[in-house]
Amino acid sequence: MTVSDAVVEKRRGLSPRQRAQRSRGIQYAVLVVIVVVAAFTANWSQIANVFFKPEFVKSAFTSGLPGAFLKTIEYTAGAFVIGLVGGTLLALMRLSPVAPYRWIATAYIEFFRGLPAIVVFVAFSLLPLAFADLVIPLDPYGTVWLALGIVAAAYMAEVIRAGIQAVPKGQIEAARSLGMPVGVATRKIVLPQAFRIVLPPLANDLILLVKDSSLVFIIGTSAAAYELTGFGRDLANTESNLTPLVTAGFCYLVITLPLGLLVRWLEAKAARAH
């Protein structure tokens, strides 16, 4: 602190700590005012009735919520596998010495990353109209996995590419110096290390995928194929109450919050390894 600063401080009569305390006090006061105003103006009984009515929570569980929960997980898991395989393939193509492979991969990635996922789902909902005799196997899973996986592959390809490029060049040189052909070096040396590096961001992509699976109802699946959002929306419609949708929403948190913890744990582990 210089002499002139000290003089200014003295004139205001407040030390830095005192000023911090005053600022914190103001923030608490604002918070209290907002809470008090909300508590007195909002119609709490109506809000509770519309969003959190216990009997609708119960009816949601008895009328198929667990099945929808399972569907969400199944849709996500299948799409993740497609995304992982497709993304790895695209990442390797992007890094290929063969230029056309690079162009194709880049075009695919940029196209599906730039497109709202909902457009892809609308397209899939219209496919049966355009191709009358098109049959995607494993209905409804095939369609859903494909629609979700196509988009997920584009996102995951970029993550995996970054992972591959983060593997030190010396690793490839060591593999080559031992006489490993490119394919063996990639499979045994580069990819295992790349996946270790990208595990946290991949788990993050999985969380996004769980949420994106909610777009599935746009494809127009039958009620039996409903995942959480489709189920919640349907039941909320028939009951004229939002509680089923809120319940479905909490089910997403049951999936995503542990995954979020997993990401943080993986990141901490990766940080410790370096």
């Binding site: 030190p168 010396g170 031992l178 006489g179 270790r196």
Partner: protein
């Protein structure tokens, strides 16, 4: 050369194991190697000395085709490295064929480059299993022997991160030996090590030389070069300035550039 070797199968040992002629290499118009000639006989240890940027590491990497050469030719045990000669015209070999050539040549890197996701024994056994198709059990048994040989028989299940630099480098030597190479290349194998760990790595290399392994070693370890090398090659500015037995090149250098380099190296050693 290849033709000559094929014509005289009676004495294949007569030719040098490594025969490099007029090797040139540029990186972006910067000529790093300006015509290197080098012969290494079987069982010989050759130390490459020279200031950084003199091209010695690049030349080493050209031998096993980690770098492609722009001109000249390199033969290892009669095989033209990286190319096939059809009527005096060179055609690049397929990647698979180059990989096969590399199997005969072990390489040890300055920064070890062990596979971090594999244990010491897996590092050593990986190439024999993946490349030579050996089954797991005998490959691991041989890996164990090699780790014993470099004094790390008790660290088989350790991951590289759990080993000291000197131990990692010894595992790296065992890994290279697992492919039963005819030739070992060492690229400044002790430069990344703490001073107290240099000795254990040099000791392993010394034993390897005594066992008759043909070795080309890029190094700044004068003591090692003096005691172990059959030939010392001094490189500067992409050319071989002088070469010969250590007592000549190190004890009585003929060229000013060699003298300057050796003086600098000595003073750096005495006043680090």
């Amino acid at each position: 050369m290849t033709a000559a070797a094929a014509a005289e199968p009676a004495e294949p040992l007569a030719q040098p194991l490594v025969h490099a002629v007029n090797v040139t290499k540029s990186f972006h118009h910067n000529e790093v190697l300006k015509g290197i000639d080098l012969d290494v006989d079987r069982g010989q240890v050759v130390c490459l000395l020279g200031p950084s940027g003199s091209g010695k590491t690049t030349f080493l990497r050209c031998i096993n085709q980690l770098e492609t050469i722009d001109g000249g030719r390199i033969w290892v045990d009669g095989d033209l490295m990286g190319y096939v000669d059809r009527d005096g015209k060179l055609y690049r070999l397929k990647n698979k064929e180059i990989a096969a050539q590399r199997r005969e040549i072990g390489m040890v890197f300055q920064r070890f480059n062990l596979f971090p996701h594999k244990t010491a024994i897996e590092n050593v056994a990986e190439a024999p299993i993946q490349v030579r198709g050996e089954s797991r059990k005998p490959a691991r048994a041989r890996a164990q022997e090699l780790l014993d040989r470099v004094g790390l028989g008790d660290r088989c299940t350790s991951y590289p991160a759990q080993l000291s630099g000197g131990q990692q480098q010894r595992v790296a030597i065992a890994r290279a030996l697992a492919m039963q190479p005819k030739l070992m290349l060492f690229d400044e194998p002790t430069s990344a090590l703490d001073p107290e760990l240099v000795g254990e790595v040099l000791a392993v290399m010394r034993e390897l030389a005594e066992d008759g392994m043909t070795m080309i070693v890029v190094t700044h370890e004068m003591e090692f070069a003096r005691e172990v090398a059959d030939t010392v090659v001094f490189m500067d500015g992409g050319v071989v300035v002088e070469s010969g037995p250590p007592r000549d090149v190190l004890g009585n250098p003929q060229h000013q550039r060699t003298k300057t380099f050796l003086t600098r190296l000595r003073s750096a050693h005495e006043h680090p």
